[in-house]
Symmetry: C2
Amino acid sequence: MAIIEKENGVTVLHPLGSQTPPRTWRSWLIGRPLQTADAPHQTIGKAIGLAVFASDALSSTAYATQEILFILAVAGTATFGYAFPISIAIVVLMAIVTISYEQTIHAYPNGGGAYIVSRDNLGELPAQIAGAALLTDYILTVSVSVSSGVAQITSAYPMLYDLRVAIAVVMVLFIMLINLRGVKESGITFAIPTYFFLVMMFLTVGVGFFRYLTGSLGTVPNPPELELHGSLQPVTLFLLLHAFSSGTAALTGIEAVSNGIPAFKEPRSHNAGVTLIWMASILGTLFLGITFLTSQIGGIPSETETIISQLSRTIYDGRGFFYLAILSATAVILIMAANTAFADFPRLSALMAADGFLPRQFTYRGSRLVYSRGIIALAIIASLLIVIFQASVNALIPLYAIGVFLSFTLSQTGMARRWRRSGHLAADQTVSEHGSVLQHDARWKLKMVINGFGAVCTTIVMIVFAITKFRDGAYVVIFLIPLLVFSFWSIHRHYRHLAQRLSLRNYSGAPPRHSRHRVILLIGGVHQGTLAALRYAGLLSDDITAVHVSTNPDEAERVRREWEWWGNGIRMVILDSPYRLLLEPLLAYINEIDARRQPNEIITIVVPQFVPRHWWHNLLHTQTAFWLRMVLLFRPGIVITDVPYQIE
Amino acid sequence: MAIIEKENGVTVLHPLGSQTPPRTWRSWLIGRPLQTADAPHQTIGKAIGLAVFASDALSSTAYATQEILFILAVAGTATFGYAFPISIAIVVLMAIVTISYEQTIHAYPNGGGAYIVSRDNLGELPAQIAGAALLTDYILTVSVSVSSGVAQITSAYPMLYDLRVAIAVVMVLFIMLINLRGVKESGITFAIPTYFFLVMMFLTVGVGFFRYLTGSLGTVPNPPELELHGSLQPVTLFLLLHAFSSGTAALTGIEAVSNGIPAFKEPRSHNAGVTLIWMASILGTLFLGITFLTSQIGGIPSETETIISQLSRTIYDGRGFFYLAILSATAVILIMAANTAFADFPRLSALMAADGFLPRQFTYRGSRLVYSRGIIALAIIASLLIVIFQASVNALIPLYAIGVFLSFTLSQTGMARRWRRSGHLAADQTVSEHGSVLQHDARWKLKMVINGFGAVCTTIVMIVFAITKFRDGAYVVIFLIPLLVFSFWSIHRHYRHLAQRLSLRNYSGAPPRHSRHRVILLIGGVHQGTLAALRYAGLLSDDITAVHVSTNPDEAERVRREWEWWGNGIRMVILDSPYRLLLEPLLAYINEIDARRQPNEIITIVVPQFVPRHWWHNLLHTQTAFWLRMVLLFRPGIVITDVPYQIE
């Protein structure tokens, strides 16, 4: 054990030496432990950044078109022509949000998710609302993406349909494992499938347009049957807005880059900004292309065959090699899209935990320098949702997106307010807060208008979404978010109260020393363990009372006789217990002593506890000390000490 | 709090005063708590004794005949004529066993179950075998009786057939509750149905014989179909012995009285002996009568309609009032027969626990002076068996009876050996052991021959049973009993080892006092809780070291600075933990100190632990102290003390 330094009575030791921890089943599963000092090296460039942070956004092209058609279907297939105009509106919205976020990324080089922006510019309550919205959304990202990925697989292999829930849960656990290994390795793991997906997607859309322009595209052969519940409904504004709301699922994941800036290589803001622009352009292009081609071929929304499957087998004339390639690429990107959430959820929960709004344990970095508890929590909750909703994308979608738009709104409102404050600063004045630097910006009015306009747009979309999808399931989220915010505040109140209570600020110095130390030694019988505890009690104080609870008069008599011989003259109290209770008479006795206690008197209860060789031997003994501890824990000034007596 | 006496420094207190404990949901369910001093009043007379201890034996008339027919059925209905001769053989065996037990009851006025008799006369291993056999059998008594009772109900109301498992489990829990109230009340509860059953059974058999003699009996109308798997088999000796083995289920429960002698009013042996004779006579008469009449009416063994149901509707010409009365009486007696096991299992397990072969907790008398843990354990295991075997009597029977005959054999071998010893005593010599008095008996040779003959008969039956029913399920019990005996011995070894280790016999007196008391104070941060723990540590020793595990260099620096101000000059050690581990560096440090420890030096680790207002707040904190305790529990000479710091 190397002593590192020694000064003013402080010794710094390195007890585990320089050796790395031994290999265990855990290191085999997630890799060998990393030192804290290794942390800064774990960053990524633009190309891998696109794979890690964009898979969520890009993968939504796999289901956004289909969700629009699902809504339009209630008014008949003739309305499917509205899908393309609706998708243009969605892409315009996407552009507005992207430009807004571009400004955020440059203003917040240390990570400018909705939570941080709201906290800095709007205050704690909006920040907690944004936090609740984002955490909900990350969980749904995992559930929706994995479910949709499994739907692609079951489109190609329908006999797997009954196994979809199990497949989806295994996928979630697999992604969890990859993320427990750490961000860099997961970046490489994810880069290959993301780029494979992009290549295949552009190829498919390209071939589709070529065939459309040459007039050889045709329509879906043997399309799935359109399931209609009830009679055809008329085309109303409500219906179109409802379809628009469903399509906004395409926007989910856009904020991922701005949350993840610290994971990028320097210059962070630049790299992240470029990645965001790339991502939005690719996403918009693919989404428009897919929706346009789907309208042309007459694709039908269905639970058993996805739109991507129908599109590909029309473009490639059947279920050949390219069909399987695009479907597996889509399945893999979707399943891996969940990775985006696995990158952001733990980071945000650690941030909120550091602010005291979530349990502190979320700030703990595991052996691989990732926030392991957040990763595990996300995997568990997302798996539960998948099981509850039986891996149905269509059932999960109404819960989704409302949180995204809530966080968009809060983030952009916060940015607008920030530009306004920057405009009021003098030209050379800077304000530094939470690692972001606020300074006068000459174009603050333009920037404020951009973010403000974004905020207005996303607010409207959010309200439209909440109204049109309320009955489909959006109400769950509308009730859930206030509940989460309330929980965060309760946790925060606890930590704040604790900090006040423990604080040494304004602390008047040590109170007078304890004037009397009273030791109560519990004995069940007189044996070597009891005598060991008696010797220990003798170290603590001269004021010792041995207490025996008597449930059996004969035994009490024996204890008394033996104590006279072995008890070193220590006084003994026998508590008569005619109803054969153990704890209750003891508590009554302690209460009595407690009531007559002098100020600054402290009571230590010494419990001899023998430790058997095997843990299961504990089943053969009553655990009095354990229950006593539970009951007395809430009493000030009472300390319980088990004196273990080992039986080797 | 009344002080009762005070002498030689021993004070006897009565902390709960004379008040009875307050009414709780428990006292509402099972009655108000009883004082230990109330125990001797809870005894019963002959009439109630017959109801409590004989319901098991008597109720076996409800299924014994049917089990004989089930076996004979493989050779066709023509063989059913063998049933009556087989039942005569069983009644002869019953008479032999009864006479043997009559001798036991008078020799063991304090309870002479197979366990005690084997322990006194054969040694510990045979006693443990008898204990294992009896405990297994009590459990099966509950499962078989309740299942058969439910079968009577579903014979009358076939639509309840699918609910049979649930009904049976609810019944078991109901009997458990009655038994948790205590033996006297359960005696009265059980007397009425037992006598109702006896009246109805004798009436039915009487009417049956009257109609047989007057030639008006006839055969079963619409008998259930005989289910035959495979082709008819020839009548072999093996088949007849197999049928005989099944029929010996009639003998189960005969030993109950001899186990339960202490529950009888004085003169115990006399009362118990008379009860046994009554019981055996009634049992033999009913069993022969039912088997004879069943052969006459051509009853068919069936899973869906019991023999009792077929017999009654033939005798009473259909499903009228008397049919329902006899069926419900049979159902109730069967379900309540399980009560016999609930009277004996807890008593035997308490006895074995007192001898150190079962966990000591079984000796604990609950608030109603019954061995509540045994009662609850029995209910849980029996319910599990019912669920596993889907409440089928026919599936459970092969597990049953082998344990009974094993205990019969051990008990009677033990008695035979006892008479032999008594013959070798001088006329005025007495030997007292375990509360039974052995003295010279003039007729010891006759008594030895009676018990010896009983032992030989039951040994033969046991071997026949094991062979003929091995494949039906008897093998489970044949493997289970050695396993149980092994477990009992392991438990016993643990307690014996512990007793040796703790014993003060040959103890050389106190070892030298601890020469050095070293206190290690763990600190996560410097706050009021830490300072409270520091003050407490100051009470214990002057040799204090504050230890901080550093997972974050900035925080370690802050702790160090604050400790310089607040630490009262106590030396501090900072343990550097580059892999962010908490426990491991601490353990390495403690190991280091432990290795350099002087003899008789003791180490106390003081852990400040703040106690939140609500238990669930513990989720918001890492439970370092808990894990530390788990890891260090096995180290001699290390005591861990949590100093609670309450946050009110």
